[in-house]
């Protein structure tokens, strides 16, 4: 297996796990609750691996992307409702990423934020127009690996490894007040939502079809979801752990996405800061591309249009218009002056509500022997799939009350 084949998983994971929402939530979670929320990341990552592997397997064996299934499995009405909810939540996420890119360029250059956001959207559209799918995933996936500076920074600050590793065990810190318990629960739900963003499954399975996956690629699929998603999750955990060590004691509960970059500046100085900001820029850019293309994939697959970046833009005209339109809409949202952090909150909230409807059809089809033959879900995939589905449903019900009761996790 060519290691470069992992880039789809790395891009999906780096863009999905360390996008602008994770940069905020992971750092805030670490500052507020130390290492005690690490297990939620680990637990959600396994869930994302399970569903990612299923959606990739369905793409490889049944040649069915997620939204094609949705229409057939949920029926037109419920399918359409899911489509609209997904489009809205992913569009808000895309706007948050474009705004995030504008902000990071603002920190790097000092040029006006909105100008940087416009330039970012322009650069993204240009890269999506010019680059073939393989190069899109390689460019953003591999450059996103600059985020490894956060892992190096964590090692350099010598955290208490025993306490950090203990954070992988499911736990609720003792001695919390009711308010703090609600806040802890809100962060748990928000991390679950941010790790399992539905767009990651849309992008990943559509990417598998773009690359012409077949049954022979099932090992690639398994390795990609395990290694790629695992790497993305590890990066998010390092941001949380450094925050627990550096920000919590300094009373910092990052309100500004750029504060996370200080985790690398503390041990490595300016070089660390700039590498961290560039890594964040590429990870957020990858997430912007993923969200924008995911929406275009969803729309095209639901209505049966020609789609794919393996085709020339004019060979799939409605798909091309869709991704350009979604990127422009995301930019318009940013230009209205919406705060990036508010967009992140809304994106996470919407996504957790959409999640059950996204994953149910994938799970049903992955277990259907008439489509999947010998590659249908076995007992482990079935057991994990239904367990995570139940957890995602419970989180979807709890998300809105927790959001209001904790003022979006602030208190």
């Amino acid at each position: 297996m060519n290691p470069l084949e992992l880039t789809l998983g790395i891009m999906t994971a780096v863009g999905g796990f360390v996008d602008i929402s994770e940069l905020v939530f992971a750092a805030q979670a670490g500052s507020l609750f130390g290492f005690t929320l690490i297990w939620v990341f680990a637990f959600s990552t396994i869930g994302m691996m399970v569903f990612g592997e299923m959606s990739g397997r369905v793409a490889a064996v049944a040649k069915q992307p997620v939204f094609n299934l949705m229409r057939h499995r949920l029926g037109l009405k419920l399918g359409l409702l899911t489509l609209i909810a997904s489009l809205v939540s992913t569009l808000i996420t895309c706007a948050a990423e474009v705004g995030g890119m504008g902000l990071i360029l603002h920190y790097l250059t000092g040029a006006p934020y909105l100008v940087m956001a416009i330039l970012s959207a322009g650069a993204l559209m240009l890269s999506m127009w010019v680059l073939p799918f393989k190069w899109i995933e390689r460019t953003y996936g591999l450059l996103g690996l600059l985020m490894l500076v956060f892992a190096a920074a964590l090692v350099a600050i010598h955290p208490p490894w025993d306490r950090l590793l203990a954070g992988f065990a499911p736990q609720v810190p003792s001695g919390l007040s009711v308010k703090q318990l609600l806040q802890f629960s809100y962060f748990g739900v928000a991390i679950l939502s941010a790790v399992m963003f539905p767009y990651e499954a849309y992008f990943y399975s559509s990417g598998g079809i773009e690359e012409g996956w077949g049954s022979k690629d099932l090992t690639t699929n398994r390795v990609t979801t395990t290694v790629g998603f695992g790497l993305g999750s590890l990066l998010a955990i390092t941001i949380l752990a450094s925050s627990a060590q550096l920000f919590g004691p300094a009373l910092v509960g990052p309100q500004e996405p750029g504060t996370s970059a200080l985790e690398a500046a503390i041990p490595f100085g300016r070089a660390g800061l700039i590498t961290a900001l560039l890594g964040m820029l590429m990870a957020v850019a990858g997430a912007a591309v993923e969200t924008c293309m995911s929406n275009a994939y969803a729309l095209a697959q639901f209505f049966g249009w020609e789609w794919g970046r393996h085709k020339k833009p004019w060979e799939a005209p409605r798909f091309t218009i869709a991704w350009i339109g979604f990127m422009l809409l995301a930019l318009v949202i940013v230009l209205t002056g919406a705060e990036v952090l508010s967009l992140v909150d809304y994106a996470v909230l919407f996504s957790i509500i959409v999640l059950p409807l996204t994953y149910l059809p994938v799970m049903l089809l992955a277990g259907d022997r008439s489509y999947m033959h010998a590659h249908a879900n076995r007992w482990l995939a079935k057991g994990l799939g239904w367990t995570y589905f139940a957890i995602v449903c419970a989180a979807a019900v709890a998300a809105i009350p927790l959001y209001f009761l904790t003022s979006g996790g602030q208190a």
Partner: protein, 113 residues
């Protein structure tokens, strides 16, 4: 429990006492602490001057927005936030941390009330 949920949400949104300002106090405390950290690392030449300038400007803007949206503008914590806002861009990290610590004390007192 479910039928009480709308009532709980309604009460939470209607509360206008110091408790309703708790999220704002917590945000302000963090913003001032972030400012202190930026200044501390700036003094050690660990961040670029562009980054430090942009961060200070944005932190100050958010702090200003919080100060003007408090439900209890005459409270002790509102005074503390305004005092923090009144500091110069390059204020000493120690001075900024003292503001953050005082806000943290208010936060803790309100949380345990």
């Amino acid at each position: 429990m479910r039928r009480f949920l709308p009532l709980l949400l309604f009460l939470a949104s209607c509360s206008k006492g110091p408790e309703a300002d708790l999220p704002a106090i917590s945000q302000a405390r963090s913003l001032i602490a972030e400012w202190a950290l930026v200044n501390e690392l700036g003094a050690q030449h660990k961040v670029t001057s562009t980054y430090a300038t942009v961060m200070r400007k944005r932190l100050r803007q958010q702090l200003g927005a919080i100060a003007s949206s408090l439900n209890q503008p005459d409270s002790q914590y509102a005074e503390e936030i305004r005092a923090g806002l009144g500091e110069q861009d390059g204020a000493s990290p120690q001075v900024l941390r003292e503001h953050a610590s005082r806000l943290k004390a208010v936060e803790d007192a309100l949380e345990s009330a």
